[in-house]
Subunit: 128 residues, 4 copies
DNA sequence: GTGGTCTAGACCACC
DNA sequence: GTGGTCTAGACCACG
């Protein structure tokens, strides 16, 4: 369970946790019914407050990625490949939407946007 | 001066104003030294508070897109085409970056991302 | 009576008028009892409002640089050389004070400030 | 965190706060990642409104001197020495420029200006 | 507890 | 009429 938090990021801490766990589930690193660390354990690991981790788990549960059993802890939901794919696409689509909207708003045409996406993709791919 | 505000949007009102005016400047719909509506006038039009519009104008001034003279009003700054282009690309690039990063993170390849961008672009273009 | 106004300057219009007339008096270009253009005339010349020029003249009168006679117009006050010199120094001193205060506040020493003043002086002297 | 406000000053309160905090950062009294007092705390200390302090912090953030995290507070940005020096000189230069311009305009020579700067510097240094 | 957004209303300076 | 500053107070998001 490797998660890294940045206090300097503009993103709230709880959301950083959500995104990273969700990412590991979508990539298949976390599989169905696998147990997650307890809220208190993870909070200690991340040297953050219990409340922050709690909120992250609540968010993940609300979105259906994990489930919680009283007294037992939290576990990864079982998702079949189709579901995972749908979620993946939806995730990325949502995040791209703002940028594309803005591109239209400032008058960029489709070719320019695609060229830019290619450039960003290559760059991120390399120095990753 | 067509600006539409959505109370439902997650984005703060003042930022919606900023983005739309900035967009119109970048598209060339608003040209150098053209006067913007007065703060009070625009506030009435948008049925929002004077302060919200004021904040938007202050933001635009800080970023150099407009200048304001007490007793006279606010005006569009003169930007040359190079400056406009740099800003345009930077704006959109920043907004696309998160989505592309996420796409890589969940294992989408470049073709899939581009296809998705094309789809979003067409959709947004139409129901605009 | 050469005065130039810039709508784009951060300085209020009436103050630009004040400064330029004051400057001409201090440099000796305008001499004692010399008549100034009427408020309406100057307003037309500068394509600005009567109220702006009126305010400038009022300011100049308050500071003792000009005097006004009902029905006759405004005239330059007679100042002897000593008075002029005192005013000159006071003027400049006031304007330099803010910068020097700031220099101290950010921890610049006297040598650095003087070097900077020399640089600015040379530059302004040349491209003037 | 020593800040003093003058209600009499022509400068707006929020700007006085900005200048003094900026000054402390440039002098190195406030270092990178050091936490600033919370908006509410500082407002109480200065017996001014929360909004005035907020505005000051917003300004400092826009200019890159501090960063703010919701729920955590505001912190000093890490700036390297080069950046600090450039900003320092630029700040002071801008503020001195008007005075020097005026000095040239009323016919003072460089020696006179420097003598005046020395005098002001000594005076301000003492009664500080 | 922290900051972020939005509101209403007052007073001043400038044109 | 314009914008600039300052105020008080409410509600929400984050830790």
């Amino acid at each position: 369970m490797l998660i890294t938090l940045s206090q300097k990021s503009a993103k709230p801490l709880y959301q950083q946790v959500v995104e990273q766990i969700k990412g590991q589930i979508l990539k298949g690193e976390l599989k169905g019914d696998e147990p997650l660390p307890s809220i208190r354990t993870l909070a200690k690991e991340l040297t953050t407050s219990v409340i922050t981790v709690k909120r992250a788990y609540a968010e993940l549960e609300k979105e259906g990625f994990i489930y919680t059993r009283q007294g037992l802890g939290s576990f990864v939901s079982e998702l079949n490949n189709d579901e995972i794919n749908v979620v993946k696409l939806k995730e990325v689509e949502d995040m791209l939407e703002d940028g594309v909207k803005r591109a239209i708003q400032v008058g960029l045409n489709l070719e320019e946007v695609i060229k830019m996406v290619e450039k960003i993709y290559q760059e991120r791919r390399e120095n990753k």
